[in-house]
Amino acid sequence: MSAREVLREALRLLVAHKLRSTLTLFGIVWGTAAVIFLVGWGRGVRDKLELGFFKAGRNMGEVWAGRVSEEFTPATDRRFLWFTSDDVAVLRRRARLPALIGAEAWELLPAAAGGRGLTVDVRGIEPEVHEIRGIPIAAGRGINRSDVSQRRRVVLLGDLVRRRLLGPQGRVGAWVRIAGIPFQVVGLFAPVGTQLASDRYYVDEQVWVPISTVQALWPSPWSEEPVVTKIVYRMRERALLEETEREVRAILASRLHVAPDDDEAISIWSSVKMFNRLPIEQMRGLFFVLAVATLGIGGIGVMNMMLDSVHERRREIGLRLAVGARRRDVVAQFFAETFCVTASGGLAGAALGILVCVLLRSARLPELAPVPVLGADTVVAALVVMVGVGVLAGVIPAWRAARVDPAGTLRME
C-alpha cells in the first residue's frame, strides 16, 4: 500500500466513523487549547506581577535610617538617626557590590498652579536616581548634575500632578509653586499607573527636584548638614540581593556608629525581596499541574477512544490480514488514521488556545489584570504530547492485534 493510498483510506475511514472521530477530536482540541491557555495564563500573572512590582525601580534596594533599637542600647539613649550627603559619598567610595547609588531627600508639600493645588510627594534626587528607578520621561528632561550643583528650582511632574495642576495642556516650561516657591517644569513623567510596591505616594503623585534644592529650601531641624531621607541603589543582579544588602548595611552602620544587625537603626527594603516572597512559582506550578492534568485527561480520553476503536476493529484487522495486508500495512493504516485525527485536533486546539490568548490580550482590561502570554514552547509541547499520546494509543494496540495470527483476531466475536 502506498502512502497516498494509506492516507486516502484513513480519511475515508475517519469520515465513515464520524462520531468516534469527532469525540476524539474534541478531547484533543480541548486538551491542547487548555494547556496553551493555562500555561500562558501562569506566565501572564507572573509578568504582570513583575511589571507591577518594579515600576519604581528594578533590582533596587532602598535604605533609610531610623532609631537605635532597644536591644542595642539603654532605653534612655535611643538616638534618632539620619544619613547625610557625606554618608552617601562614603558609601559610593567603599561599596563594591551596588552597581549604582543615589540619594533622595523627601518632603510632603503643597503644590499649586493657576489656582489649583494638591499635596505632592516632593523627591529631591541625585541624577543617578533616574537611572536606578528608570521611570520613563514623556517630555522634557530629567534632573542633571548642574541642576544639583546650582540648586536650581526645576521640577519634573508625575502624570497625576501634571493633570491636576496644569490640566491636559500642561507643558514643559510652565511654572508651579511648591510650598509657595516657584519652580519651572523641565520634564513630565509618563503615566506609571498602579504600583504593587511603592514607598509613600505613587510615582504619578510625585514631583522630582534636585536634591540640593530640597536640602537648601527645607533643611532638617535635626542637622546642620544636608540630610538624605533615602539612599537607593541598584544591585548588579537579583541573586546578589543578600550580599549587597550586607555590604551596604556594614558601611552605613560604621558611619552611624550602630550595630550592623540593628535593622531598626538601618532599614533596607527591596521590592525584589518582597517579589521573591510571593508564591509566584507555586502558582505557576499549580497552573502547570492543572495544565498537565488537563493534558493527561485529554490524553486518557484519546487513548480510551483509540483503544476502543482498535478493539472493536480487531475483526477488521484480522480480515485485512486475511486478504493480504502485511502487519505494517495495518499499523500504517492505524497510524495514518490516528495521526489525522490527533494532528488536526491538535492544530485546531492550538489555534483555539492561541485565539483565546490573543483575544484576551487585545481586550480592554485593567492594566495589571493578567493576560495569557503565548509561548511557542508550550504550543509545541502540548501538540507533541497530545498527538504523541493519540498516535501511540492508536498504533500500539493495532500493532499488537496485527502481531498475532489473523485466525485469532478473526474468531473474536
Binding site: 493510498e5 484480522g318 486475511a322 486478504v323 493480504g324 489473523p406
Partner: protein, 239 residues
C-alpha cells in the same frame, strides 16, 4: 477431472494444532495428513469442535501448525517469511467466512476491492476488477450499497466476490451457508459450485450435507483427526 493428476495445491503432513488457554491445552488437530489437488472441490465435515475450522485456518495461512508441515503449491508455508505469507494470503487464497466479515462502513464494491488495495493495483483497475467480480456473483447493481443495506445472501455473495477478485488458486470457505436460510444457502451453494466449475480449487468447511453431496470429495473430521476421506464417483454430476 484432468486436474486430479497435477501437483497437489495442498499437502499436510502430520499437522497438529494446540491452543493453550491458561493451564488448559486444547488439541484442535492431532496429526492430519492431507493432499488436495488443483481443481478439487473438498467438503470438510464434522461436528462442532472437531477441528475443521482450525484446519481451514491453517490451510489459509491464517494460523501456523504447532507441529507438522504444510506445503502450499509446493512451498513450505512455515518457511515463508511473514510479508510473503501476507502476499500469498492476498493473491493465492480467497476466504469466505460464515459471518461474511465485510467492513460495515464501506460499500460492496469497496469491500471487494480490499484485496486489490493490498496488492497495489491502481485505483481504476481496482474498481473495474471489483465490479466485474460483483457482476460474476450477480450483484453489480448493488455495488454502491453498504453491507447493512444488503440481505444475508447478498452479503455472502459480496464476500465471495471479494474472495474471487484476485483469481486465487485456492478458495476456502468456512460455513458459508451457516448464517443463511436454506433457500439462500442453496443459491450460495450453486454459486460456489460454479466457482469450482470454472477451475478453482475449493475447500469448504460445513455442517451442510448438501454441500457434502455436491463436493467431489468429502473429508470427515472428528477429534482433530481425519476419520474418513471419500470421493464421489461423479463429482460434476450436478452443475
Amino acid at each position: 477431472m484432468s486436474a486430479a493428476a497435477a501437483e497437489p495445491v495442498i499437502r499436510l503432513d502430520g499437522v497438529r494444532k494446540v491452543y493453550a488457554t491458561g493451564s488448559l491445552e486444547v488439541h484442535a488437530l492431532r496429526g492430519v495428513d492431507l493432499e488436495v489437488r488443483a481443481g478439487e472441490f473438498v467438503a470438510v465435515m464434522g461436528p462442532s469442535g472437531s477441528g475443521k475450522t482450525t484446519l481451514l485456518e491453517i490451510l489459509g495461512c491464517l494460523s501456523r501448525p504447532s507441529a507438522g508441515r504444510y506445503w502450499l503449491a509446493g512451498a513450505e508455508a512455515d518457511a515463508i517469511p511473514a510479508d510473503a505469507l501476507a502476499r500469498l494470503r492476498g493473491e493465492a487464497i480467497g476466504f469466505v467466512f460464515q459471518s461474511f466479515n465485510l467492513l460495515p462502513r464501506q460499500s460492496a464494491v469497496e469491500n471487494v476491492e480490499l484485496p486489490l488495495v493490498y496488492r497495489g493495483v491502481p485505483r481504476r483497475e481496482r474498481r473495474r476488477r471489483a465490479l466485474s467480480a460483483l457482476e460474476r456473483v450477480g450483484l453489480a447493481h448493488r455495488a454502491a450499497h453498504r453491507p447493512a443495506e444488503l440481505s444475508g445472501g447478498e452479503r455472502q455473495r459480496v464476500a465471495i466476490a471479494r474472495a474471487l477478485v484476485n483469481r486465487p488458486t485456492l478458495v476456502l470457505a468456512d460455513e458459508p451457508t451457516g448464517n443463511l436460510d436454506s433457500h439462500t444457502g442453496e443459491e450460495i451453494l450453486a454459486l460456489l459450485h460454479s466457482v469450482h466449475a470454472e477451475g478453482n480449487t475449493l475447500v469448504v468447511v460445513t455442517h451442510d450435507a448438501g454441500i457434502g453431496r455436491r463436493a467431489g470429495r468429502t473429508i470427515a473430521i472428528r477429534d482433530g483427526r481425519i476419520e474418513r476421506d471419500s470421493r464421489s464417483v461423479a463429482p460434476e454430476a450436478r452443475p
